[in-house]
Each structure stands twice: as structure tokens, then as C-alpha cells.
């Protein structure tokens, strides 16, 4: 009887041990074994769905075009996982993408591989890329990322609603914008809002862009310190409260907003006519065609403040960038692939497929982009001198969260713009150096 128990427990132990070994073996092997002589580069990217598909096509072409490197592409939309991987001693990927405004924070922590020397060796010039984008990816004189796709924001409007309200064309000044919002916001007999003149696809983007429009700046004179209380920023928030929340009642607006469908789906409030205007990015033509093919819409430059025509063409720029983590196993091979991705022809193909703006100045006038209707408004905006980008500093992540919370509180009417920005300013004192 003892022997049977011994036997049974030995079997159990052996079984468990083999299971653990199996698990450890499966778990610790990173995907893709190197085929004879070729270096395997793991490309973890945030893109999903259709964008991921076009990326996979490009990867396949790259692999077929040369014999030294095999790229394995994995779609992994979780930004926190990136950070987690970069914190281990050996990374689970060699190259990935993120937004330009994270570069400064990550470079300061030493988790990005500097690319300047690789660029020099490959003959890639920083001056070929849009300056505002290059600013974001450069930290203390070194380039840490290459931008592949840019985004900027313009005013989209529902042509049918405009016609119904008797408005001839899109507003060009903020004064006209305010008047149009009033004409396009509808309240039913129960006091509930049924249509809003200006929508809000992304709180942070809308408000920070409006801040730039009104002459404000979010990161101080040298793009290195938080400046939430800048006069232009507060003026932008006041514009919103005066024309929307205070006028129609914050609670009513909140109730209306709460009932909106998901952004970018067929239930999107702009697609379903619940809002008449939105400030949104250049991916809209592709997205609108897919989700609301019958929507009659147009796009125009964001209005400039009354009496200040020098602010014409103000917009905010964000950049999708590629980076190589400092703990990447194959840095040189990763950069070779990055160079390929950001080369003019491949960048053209990729940005066309995604409906994003190219990061190279040479591509800004490429006729291929005419295949996307209304794309030129966004494209030409990149040439304007009034293109701004949020700073890429170590405090940026927390600043962004605090700003968004403050904006939401302002839009709900629980705090005035001035005090909300003062609140963020006092929180900013604690950002320090993490």
C-alpha cells in the first residue's frame, strides 16, 4: 500500500515536472526561429485590423526582397505591454511603433536605442522629414525614432445639416463658428438636446487643438515645461463653455454625450447626424466611407480667432513613430527594416493604405493621395507655419492624463476653465523627474 502511494506520488511529481518544463519551454521561446543565416527581427505593432493587414503585406515584400533579414510582425495593441517588455533585460521585440510624444520620456529613461549613427551609416537625412515631427523624436540632440505617419486635425462638417440651417459654407473665424454652433444645436420641447453643433471625438485632442487655435501653448515657450494656464488655453476652454455647456446646460450636454454610439462605428455621432461639426484627423475619409457611405460631409481649415488672421491654418500634429528599444536583440537589423519602412515608396504605400499623412516632405505633393477624397486639406495643412505638436518630455504622460481629467470636469460644468487649469498647474509642480 505504501509502495502504491509512493508510486502514485512519484508519477504525479514526474507529471507535474514535465508539465512545468513544457510550460516553461513553450513560454520562454520567443516566436520565430531563425531560418538558415537570416536574422529574425520581431516587429510588435499597435496597429490592428485592416491597418495590420496592409502592414503584413509590406513585411512580406520586405522579406522577399532580400536574404539577410526575416521580419515577423505581431499585432499587439496594448501600450503597457510595450513598456513591460522594454523593462526586461532582453526585449521580446526589436522594433515597434508608438506616438511621438512618448519619445522624450522614454529616451530620458534610456530605454530607446539612439538612431543617429545608424541613420548616418544608411544615409538617411533628418531634414527629409516634416520638421515638427522630427522635433518630437529628437531628444538632447539624438534622434530616437523615425516618424512614419503623421496626423493633423481639421474641421469636418455635415453638409446636409448646414444646408438645412441655411448656412452657406463652413465657418472661417471663431465668431462664425460660434454662430454656426448656435444655429446647428437643436433642443426639443422637453429641453433635451437632439443635435449638437460641435462634437468631441477625443476630448484631449479637441481641447488642445483649440488651445493652439486661440494662440495658446501647452508646453511653454521652449516646449519643455507644462503651461496649462496660458491665456490662449483658457480662452479656448471659455469658448467651449460659453457656446456649449453654459448655454445649453452642462447636465443636458452630458446626458446627450452619454448616449452617443462608439466612435468610428456606424453609430458614431457624426455619422448619425447627432453632431454637425467635429475636429478630427485625416483618417476620416477612409473611416467615413466604410461606416457611413451616404453621409454628405465636407472638411475645411479650423477657423482662426476673429481679428487674428495670422493664426490661419493652425492645427495640431501627432506622429506615429517607429523605435528600437534599448534592449532589442537585433538593433542593426531592426534599423535596416525601419529604413525600408520609412523609405519614400514604402511610406507612400503604407500611408495610402491607412489613409494617414506621410512624414516625408517630398511626399506631401504626391498625386497618389488624390485617390482619397478631401485628403488634400489635411495634407496641405502640414506645410502651414502654424502646425504645433505637444512636447515630448518625461512629464508628458501624466500631464496628458491630468489635462484630460481637467477638460472633462470643465465640460461637465463642475469647475471653471480658469480654476481647472490652475489645478493642473499645481499638479504639474509634482511632475519633477520620475
Amino acid at each position: 500500500m505504501y509502495r502504491k502511494a509512493l508510486h502514485r506520488s512519484a508519477m504525479a511529481l514526474a507529471g507535474t515536472a514535465s508539465l512545468i518544463t513544457l510550460a516553461a519551454g513553450c513560454a520562454s521561446s520567443s516566436g520565430g526561429s531563425a531560418a538558415s543565416g537570416r536574422t529574425t527581427v520581431t516587429f510588435d505593432y499597435l496597429w490592428t485590423g485592416a491597418e495590420a493587414n496592409s502592414l503584413q503585406q509590406i513585411i512580406k515584400q520586405f522579406n522577399a526582397s532580400q536574404k539577410q533579414i526575416t521580419v515577423v510582425g505581431i499585432s499587439n495593441p496594448d501600450t503597457q505591454k510595450q513598456l513591460a517588455s522594454m523593462s526586461s533585460s532582453t526585449g521580446s521585440f526589436d522594433i515597434s511603433d508608438n506616438f511621438g510624444n512618448n519619445v522624450g520620456s522614454w529616451a530620458a529613461k534610456g530605454i530607446l536605442a539612439p538612431l543617429t549613427s545608424y541613420m548616418q551609416a544608411a544615409g538617411t537625412r533628418a531634414s527629409d522629414f516634416v520638421p515638427a515631427a522630427m522635433d518630437q523624436v529628437t531628444y538632447q540632440g539624438q534622434v530616437y525614432s523615425l516618424p512614419i505617419a503623421l496626423h493633423d486635425f481639421e474641421l469636418l462638417y455635415n453638409k446636409k445639416e448646414f444646408a438645412a440651417a441655411g448656412i452657406a459654407g463652413p465657418p472661417t473665424t471663431t465668431g462664425q463658428l460660434a454662430a454656426d454652433i448656435a444655429k446647428l444645436t437643436k433642443v426639443n420641447k422637453n429641453g433635451q438636446i437632439t443635435q449638437l453643433g460641435l462634437g468631441n471625438p477625443d476630448t484631449e485632442t479637441t481641447m488642445t487643438t483649440l488651445g493652439y487655435v486661440f494662440g495658446g501653448t501647452w508646453d511653454g515657450a521652449h516646449n519643455s515645461t507644462p503651461s496649462p494656464q496660458d491665456a490662449g488655453n483658457v480662452a479656448a476652454l471659455n469658448f467651449y463653455t460659453q457656446n456649449i455647456t453654459d448655454k445649453y446646460g452642462a447636465a443636458n450636454v452630458a446626458k446627450f454625450t452619454a448616449g452617443w454610439g462608439q466612435y468610428g462605428s456606424p453609430q458614431d455621432p457624426f455619422y448619425t447626424g447627432k453632431v454637425a461639426m467635429v475636429i478630427d484627423g485625416e483618417w476620416q475619409p477612409v473611416m467615413a466611407k466604410e461606416n457611413a457611405p451616404n453621409l454628405d460631409w465636407g472638411v475645411a481649415d479650423i477657423p482662426y480667432p476673429v481679428g487674428d488672421p495670422s493664426m490661419v491654418g493652425t492645427t495640431q500634429l501627432t506622429a506615429s513613430t517607429l523605435f528600437v528599444p534599448a534592449n532589442a536583440p537585433h538593433k542593426q537589423a531592426a534599423f535596416t527594416f525601419m529604413n525600408y519602412l520609412t523609405s519614400p515608396s514604402v511610406m507612400l504605400k503604407f500611408t495610402l493604405a491607412l489613409g494617414n499623412l506621410p512624414a516625408r516632405t517630398s511626399l506631401l505633393d504626391n498625386p497618389a493621395y488624390n485617390s482619397i477624397p478631401d485628403f488634400s486639406v489635411w495634407l496641405q495643412a502640414l506645410k502651414s507655419p502654424n502646425v504645433h505638436a505637444l512636447a515630448s518630455q518625461p512629464y508628458s504622460a501624466q500631464y496628458s492624463t491630468d489635462l484630460t481629467t481637467a477638460f472633462t470636469s470643465v465640460m461637465v460644468g463642475s469647475v471653471t476653465p480658469a480654476s481647472a487649469m490652475a489645478q493642473v498647474a499645481s499638479q504639474a509642480k509634482a511632475y519633477g523627474t520620475p
Binding site: Y2, A23, A24, A27, P77, S85, S87, S89, T90, G261
Partner: protein, 300 residues
């Protein structure tokens, strides 16, 4: 809540024998009372079951019907499109397999470690027993947030982030709650059996293996079921430690599914249904242990 009636005493009027006259009234009250009881229970259970019903019916609706305000309960059209979408959008079977593997390993660890420690706390008489019991109980109150970061750094140092090691090894060290539960059970094991074996010259290890473990089977079964469910439904640990989609468990797989913008509620809820089915089956199989194993003895 007993079924005692409080029928009014009879009046002092000459009447036919009391039982015959009272019988129909008492029966009516009893029926009304039991009807009320059944109704109350049904309302309670319906409140708990309603969300499941919504989840299931919505997963069979086509997308257009899902976004109907106000919502309608019963699907006007039935479709399997959402379920098909789940299988194309995520590697469901891979996630399921990963989760089963992790859960099995954790159960193995629990069954190895918890009875060992419980036995040390219940039956062995040694100097450290009292202090150890206090320590085990105290750690139940320790917020995991306190040890979260250092433990993550330990695993990071060992190159074990993005592997299953951090998710399995802790089970092999024992879980305080389960240790305590088994300990309460073992206390009730009669000492005579152990003494008899000791007199026969068996070592403690042999006593443990041949006498204690077989007797502790109900508690072990309960512990196994608990550990399985906890690992199955664990969210925070896989969230922190797993970075590659191929290693994800069901919980993180579903979380990842939602992370993409523009996710449809139809496929998401269909995925929820699929994720719930295994848990439901485990529950049906081990119902006895869940509902009876947790409560009683462990609390006294």
C-alpha cells in the same frame, strides 16, 4: 424563518370540532404563504440571472438589432455571425489551452503545498506552530499592492517576465486561505489514527502520505476547485506578466479584444458567452465543493 402558523385560537362559540373547521383556512394560508415564498425566491434568482440572459440573447442578435434604443430583450432575428467573428478575431482555442494549462499547474501546486503546511499547523506539535499560524493569517490581510512591484522586479531580474513562471511558482508555496481551510479540516481528524501509525514506527512523511492525505480528500477537492477557479478567472497577474499575445489567457485575450478601437458589442458579448461556458461546466461538475466546501468548518 420557520413555517409556523399563527392561526387565531377558536372563539368560545359552540362549533364543530376545531380541526375540521380550521383545516381549509389553514390550508389556504399555507398555500398563500408558500406561494409568496416561491415568488420571493424567484424574483431574487431572476435578478441574478437576468444579466446572463441579456448576454446570451444579445450575442445572437445581428449588429443592427443590438443597437436598438430602448433595448429589446428577445432577438427578432437569430444569427451566429457574432460567434463566427470571435473565432476569426482571436485565437480562442489557444487562449483556452493556455488558461487550462495555467489552472492545472496552479492546482498541482496547491495540492502539493497547502496540505503540507496545513498539516504542520494542525497536527504536528512543534514550537513554531502558533507563530506560524498568526503569520499565515496576517498575510491574508496584506494588500497585494505592497509586494506587487518588488515581486515584479524579482521576476524581471530572473528574465521570467513574459513567461508562465511568475504565474505558477507562487501556487507551489501555498495560499494562506486554502492552507487555513485545510487546517481547520485536519484539526477534526482524530489523533488516534496518527498515534497508531506513529507507534507502528512510520515516519511523519509516511503518516502524512498514507493516513492524512486520504482522509483530507474532501478538503483537498474543495481547495483544488477553488484554486482552479481563481487561476481561471485571474486578471491582474496575467495582465502584468504576459506580453506576447500567444501566451495570453482567456481573461487577457478578452481584454485585448476590447482594446482595439471600434469593437462591436455583438462579437464581444459572444466572446463573453464562450468564456463563461467552461466556467459554468466546471461549476456544474464541482458544485458540491463550491457551495459546501467554503462555508462551514473553515470559519469556526
Amino acid at each position: 424563518m420557520t413555517a409556523v402558523d399563527h392561526a387565531a385560537p377558536d372563539q368560545a362559540v359552540p362549533a364543530p370540532p376545531a380541526d375540521i373547521r380550521r383545516a381549509p383556512a389553514r390550508a389556504a394560508t399555507r398555500v398563500a404563504r408558500s406561494g409568496l415564498r416561491v415568488l420571493t425566491v424567484l424574483v431574487l434568482v431572476a435578478a441574478f440571472a437576468f444579466p446572463f440572459a441579456v448576454m446570451i440573447t444579445t450575442s445572437f442578435k445581428p449588429t443592427a438589432d443590438i443597437f436598438h434604443a430602448p433595448p429589446e430583450f428577445w432577438p427578432a432575428h437569430w444569427t451566429l455571425a457574432n460567434f463566427r467573428a470571435v473565432f476569426t478575431a482571436m485565437p480562442f482555442w489557444q487562449y483556452l489551452g493556455n488558461t487550462v494549462l495555467l489552472s492545472a499547474l496552479n492546482v498541482a501546486g496547491t495540492l502539493f503545498a497547502c496540505p503540507l503546511v496545513a498539516y504542520a499547523l494542525a497536527k504536528l506539535r512543534w514550537r513554531g506552530r502558533g507563530p506560524l499560524l498568526v503569520l499565515v493569517l496576517a498575510t491574508m490581510m496584506l494588500p497585494p499592492q505592497v509586494t506587487l512591484i518588488p515581486v515584479y522586479l524579482i521576476w524581471n531580474h530572473l528574465h521570467a517576465v513574459n513567461t508562465y513562471w511568475p504565474l505558477v511558482v507562487p501556487a507551489f508555496c501555498g495560499t494562506p486561505f486554502l492552507i487555513f481551510m485545510i487546517r481547520q479540516f485536519l484539526i477534526n481528524v482524530p489523533n488516534e489514527l496518527l498515534e497508531a501509525a506513529r507507534i507502528d514506527g512510520a515516519s511523519e512523511l509516511r503518516i502524512y502520505r498514507t493516513v492524512v492525505l486520504p482522509l483530507a480528500r474532501p478538503a483537498l477537492a474543495a481547495a483544488a476547485v477553488f484554486q482552479f477557479v481563481w487561476t481561471w478567472t485571474d486578471f491582474l497577474n496575467p495582465l502584468i506578466y504576459l506580453n506576447s499575445p500567444s501566451k495570453y489567457t482567456l481573461s487577457i485575450g478578452l481584454y485585448n479584444f476590447f482594446s482595439e478601437h471600434g469593437v462591436d458589442w455583438g462579437p464581444l458579448l459572444a466572446a463573453c458567452v464562450l468564456f463563461t461556458i467552461p466556467a459554468f461546466c466546471i461549476f456544474l461538475a464541482g458544485q458540491r465543493y463550491f457551495v459546501e466546501g467554503i462555508a462551514t468548518r473553515g470559519l469556526k
